[in-house]
């Protein structure tokens, strides 16, 4: 994109982050502009005759009427290239560590700094040779970016032609890695870095089915409400219900290649926690510190409001960029409500007619556009890579936290997001008050994507059946508890009471999972399956024993119940054989219970 020079206007109105300008001819809607003498970053959000309205992404205090506004001729862009991994950026992609070196502990406005380090040398290995014809999305070469990520350099959009020169070795971002001669005979240099407008989704060849789950290590998610790779999920919940803890846990244990974590309008101390923890924690499979696969974007609640929007789009653009290299990417946005509120605030200052709860009428279309950028795709250029024959399929999975006012899910952001996202993890005040974590309500939550085939094939054939059985037991418990609340336990039959006992086991010994204790913080699918199998084996045996006429108290006094309560503490590597033994033990115990009873009564 070529910059149009000398597009300059004059400020004639200032109201918080919204600035009015006249004479900004030649600028287009959503163009990025530099506001005032401090050169604050802003974006054109409305045009009307000679008058344009700018949303400013930085604090506007000190700005004056009459100061100039300069157009940059391009929209707000993300700088994409090696050096993103392990970094922490603000919503405008300024590297926060670098800013701390330059301007100290507090953020000042109008400071610009290159998003990616310009002087660092990267070891580029070319995968094309002179004379090759290349098209957008083709693989040019590779760079070892971090211990866990090989950065794949792709041909940018709109460039195709014949490779006339290839550079390899230690190069900076300013140096081209290849020279291309296009159809008109023009020689075009291609570097490792390029820019991409954050509001435009990056292209791909085609969308693929969502058929594989994203394993998170949390039983309630993986077994009950799984999210597929390339899917989107929302986590609504009032304060203190554990949205952030779930997000952080996903950032740690999700089986993806890259994590983009966007802290949007949330707490500074929480970002500090993530920042201090990720270099210390290691990847479960490779043992490499997790920071090597993570990009952090921090726009805390006290940072400029309008930049919340920028931070969300920046995050998803970076996620798509790594998807295009053929990686599975997880983008976490905490919290999308703060972004929605920023839209509302700006909309209010624009004096637009408000929709529900004061949110602008375009709220749900904005949310839809955002969530639809998740997906499992066949990457552009896949199958054409020479000589590299690898397969480039990538995915972006999206998990957005939602903070409904008063924990009330009827709020417009929750409702609009729910319609689009395929997975809904409803967090519950009541559960969190009982310290039942993760406080995901099993009645209200859902996952619309059917992954039962994958679970049946890859874990155990009857896994989907067990999950269904467990869910219906918990649904039954809900009904029975309503009866108990009205007329007491005495009204229930022994069979029904047994359902209450089992449901309690399911809740406390399966669904509850600590994010703090080391042993239980990650649970494999195999361990989840066997835990469920143990509990439901007990249930089946108990029901048939009751059916024979055995007293409920004999069943609930079995000491094997205490071993069920300690299942979580079994270390992962020993869990499958131990749980199999436990299931066998349950069968033995019931066998002898039944035979003793029959000896006495028959």
């Amino acid at each position: 994109m070529e910059a149009i020079d000398n597009v300059t206007g004059t400020i004639n109105r200032i109201s918080g982050p919204v600035v009015g300008v006249s004479g900004l001819d030649g600028a287009r809607l959503h163009d990025m502009v530099l506001v005032g003498e401090a050169k604050l970053v802003g974006e054109v959000i409305r045009m009307s005759g000679q008058q344009a309205t700018i949303q400013v992404y930085e604090e506007t205090s000190g700005l004056k009427i009459g100061e100039p506004i300069t157009g940059t001729g391009h929209p707000l862009v993300a700088h994409l290239g090696p050096g993103l991994m392990g970094q922490i950026f603000d919503g405008l992609q300024r590297p926060l560590n670098k800013l701390a070196e330059i301007e100290g502990d507090f953020l000042r406005k109008g400071v610009t700094e290159d998003s990616l380090p310009k002087d660092k040398k990267w070891k580029f290995t070319a995968l094309v040779k002179e004379g090759d014809f290349i098209k957008p999305g083709n693989l040019l070469g590779e760079i070892p970016e971090t211990q866990s990520i090989t950065h794949r350099v792709l041909v940018p959009l709109q460039i195709s032609g014949r490779v006339v020169e290839v550079h390899a070795g230690d190069l900076t971002l300013a140096q081209p890695v290849a020279m291309i001669e296009d159809a008109t005979g023009k020689i075009i240099p291609i570097g490792m870095e390029h820019v991409w407008p954050v509001r435009s989704p990056r292209p791909y060849k085609r969308r693929l089915d969502l058929a594989e789950p994203l394993v998170t290590g949390k039983r309630v998610i993986d077994a009950f409400f799984p999210i597929p790779k390339g899917g989107s999920a929302i986590i609504p919940g009032g304060f203190g219900t554990g949205k952030t803890v779930i997000q952080q846990s996903l950032a740690r244990w999700a089986d993806v290649d890259v994590v983009v974590y966007v802290g949007c309008g949330e707490r500074g101390n929480e970002m500090a926690e993530v920042l201090m923890e990720l270099p210390e924690l290691e990847d479960r499979v490779k043992g490499i510190p997790l920071i090597n696969r993570t990009v952090l974007i921090a726009n805390t609640s006290n940072m400029p409001v309008a930049a919340r929007e920028a931070s969300i789009y920046l995050g998803i653009t970076i996620a798509e960029y790594y998807r295009d290299m053929g990686y599975d990417v997880l983008m976490l946005a905490d919290s999308t409500s703060r972004w929605g509120e920023a839209l509302r605030e700006v909309s209010g200052r624009l004096e637009e007619i408000p929709g529900e709860e004061g949110y602008p009428a375009y709220l749900s279309s904005r949310l839809a556009e955002f969530y639809e950028r998740a997906g499992h795709v066949d990457c552009l250029g896949n199958g054409e890579d020479k000589p590299y024959a690898g397969h480039r399929e990538g995915s972006v999975s999206l998990v957005g936290a939602v903070s409904p006012p008063g924990g009330d899910f009827s709020d417009p952001i929750t409702q609009s997001s729910m319609r689009i996202a395929g997975v809904f993890w409803a967090l519950d005040y009541e559960l969190s008050r009982k310290r039942h974590f993760p406080a995901i309500n099993w009645i209200k939550s859902f996952s619309l994507v059917d992954l039962s085939r994958w679970f049946g094939d890859m874990v155990e054939e009857d896994f989907p059946k067990l999950v269904q059985e467990a869910k219906s037991l918990l649904g039954r418990e809900n009904e029975l508890l309503q009866v108990v609340q009205l007329i007491g336990q005495d009204a229930l039959s022994d069979m029904e009471r047994e359902v209450l006992v089992i449901s309690k086991l399911l809740r406390e010994d399966f669904l509850q999972q600590s994010s703090i204790q080391d042993v239980d913080t990650y649970c494999s699918l195999e361990k989840s399956y066997w835990m469920l199998k143990v509990i439901l084996t007990y249930h089946q045996r108990a029901q048939s024993a009751l059916d024979k006429g055995i007293d409920l108290s004999e069943i609930t006094n079995l000491t094997v119940l205490q071993r069920i309560a300690r299942m979580k503490e079994i270390p992962l590597e020993k869990s499958v054989p131990e749980l199999k033994r436990l299931a066998g033990k349950i069968n033995d115990v019931f066998d002898s219970l039944v035979s003793n009873w029959e000896a006495e009564n028959v």
Binding site: R13, I14, E37, A38, T60, S61, G62, L63, K64, I65, G66, I88, L96, L99, A100, D105, F106, L107, R108, G238, F239, G240, G265, R267, G268, N269, M271, A272, L275, M276, T300, S301, N302, V305, E341, R344, E345, G348, E357, G358, S403, P405, G406, G407, D408, R433, K434, R435, V484, Q485, L486, I487, G488, Q489, D509, I516, Q517, Q562, A565, E569
Partner: protein, 469 residues
């Protein structure tokens, strides 16, 4: 930029072009070279200056928000001077021990503050990359907080109170008892208390001052007073003045500063008043849509910074209107702060002090600040177990109220008894100052009424070590 602003300051001229006075807002016409958020001096007809700031500029008209009310102003004789700079507060170490008004001017009859620095009252956000995670356990001496909702240095923790509930008493008790333990002993690091009274009554403020005096903390305390009968609009400034001072003491003079903000409900009401005067689109219950961001700009000024000795910890008091935790004020606060301590009216009626309802209470930073090396290895699982039993106990109480105790199992009965003795012994501690050891031991005492195998939340090794059978 500051240099440029300084130059214009010399050339300050006085405008007499007021066009409208509306509530706390003054509209001035035909102005030039005015900056957004700039500090303004309004000279009233008697020649006395009052402070305000620029809220909006459109063409040659500026909207000014007054901090000391608009009473007595008129259109023709009132003058306006633009300062060329944002609102700044005089800050100095010598403010310790002083009593100031809500704008930071001394009202204790002592000498004027000699500033070491003039700080922007709005502050600047701490760069998230230099924040240090709060990990140092603060012992408040209160079991429900230390044991179940531990506070850490650099945290912001609100107390959700209600009319007639002893929120202020609890805050005062915490302020005088709070200490950081290093290797089990009191640390003698320098500390200070910044107390911001926002729209509270004279009775409440004298309670606090008397409390600081009797605990000997007054000369380490700075008091900012905006009483209920002071101008509402000054309340917008009071917490900002307090936090600007706190940041200065913490990050320039290496002090550990505890900021007490009471009562934030009054602040939010002032914010609403201002918003209505500006004819802004109201959000929930008439509060402005930007209240979340506005509150965040205050609360987020707590924390620690890498490489700096000092810290800012916030204790925020607010009254829940009609005890409603979903009201926008507690709701938005809870979304920003790192947990909340909720006071319960029923506990208060039972005579329990402090009446902390632990079920809706929470401290988000607890897990990092407790455990081995901080408090004790059994702390977290002990807290989890208590929560689990107490939550069950409260449900059983409801059930018993309907269907009686007859259908209860033995375990149910134990849980019911536990929940009663928990409230009476653990929560209800009066003015006693308990060490964390005492708190945890008391918890074991209560839990040892249960058979070992029902303590599902506690690992077996810890049960063996601490169970009092």
């Amino acid at each position: 930029m500051s240099e440029r602003l300084m130059n214009t300051k010399l050339a300050t001229k006085e405008y007499r072009t007021l066009s409208q006075i509306k509530g706390p807002l003054v509209f001035v016409e035909r102005v030039a070279d005015v900056a957004y958020d700039e500090m303004v001096q309004i000279i009233d007809p008697d020649g006395h200056p009052r402070v305000g700031r620029v809220l909006e500029i459109s063409g040659d008209m500026a909207v000014i928000q007054m901090f000391l009310g608009t009473e007595g102003l008129d259109i023709s004789r009132t003058g306006v001077r633009f300062s060329g700079d944002v609102v700044r507060l005089k800050v100095s170490l010598s403010m310790l021990g002083r009593i100031l008004n809500g704008m930071g001017e001394p009202i204790d009859g002592g000498p004027a503050i000699v500033p070491e620095k003039m700080e922007d009252i709005n502050g600047s956000p701490i760069n998230p990359a230099v924040r240090n995670e709060p990990r140092e356990f603060i012992q408040t001496g209160i079991s429900t907080i230390d044991g179940l909702n531990s506070l850490a240095r650099g945290q912001k923790l609100p107390i959700f109170s209600g009319s007639g509930l002893p929120g202020n008493e609890l805050a005062a008790q915490i302020a005088s008892q709070a200490r950081v333990l290093t290797e089990g002993k009191d640390s003698d690091e320098p500390f200070a208390v910044v107390f911001a009274a926002i729209g509270i009554t004279h009775r409440e403020s004298s309670f606090f001052i008397e409390h600081f005096r009797s605990s000997g903390a007054l000369d380490r305390t700075i008091v900012f007073l905006n009483h209920a009968d002071d101008p509402t609009i000054e309340r917008i400034m009071t917490p900002r003045a307090a936090l600007t001072t706190a940041e200065y003491l913490a990050f320039t003079h290496d002090l550990h500063v505890l900021v007490i903000l009471t009562d934030m409900t009054n602040y939010c009401e002032a914010l609403r008043e201002l918003s209505v005067a500006r004819e802004e689109l109201p959000g929930r219950r008439g509060y402005p849509g930007y209240m979340y961001s506005d509150l965040a700009s205050l609360y987020e000024r707590a924390g620690r910074i890498k490489g700096k000795q000092g810290s800012v910890t916030q204790l925020i008091l607010l009254s829940m209107p009609d005890d409603d935790i979903t009201h926008p004020i507690p709701d938005l606060t809870g979304y920003i702060t790192e947990g909340q301590i909720v006071l319960g009216r029923i506990l208060n009626q039972k005579g329990v002090f402090p009446p902390v309802d632990v079920l809706p209470s929470l401290s988000r930073l607890m897990k990092e600040a407790i455990g081995e090396g901080h408090t004790r290895e059994d702390h977290q699982s002990l807290a989890d177990q208590i929560y689990s039993f107490y939550a069950e106990g409260r449900e059983l109480e409801k059930l018993v109220a309907i269907i009686g105790e007859t259908s209860l199992t033995e375990q149910d009965q134990r849980i019911l008894n536990f929940s009663k003795s928990f409230e009476q012994k653990f929560v209800n501690q009066g003015n006693e100052n308990r060490s964390i050891e005492q708190t945890l031991d008391l918890a074991w005492e209560l839990l040892s009424e249960f058979p070992k195998e029902s303590l599902k939340r506690i690992p077996e090794v810890l049960i063996e070590k601490y169970y009092k059978g």
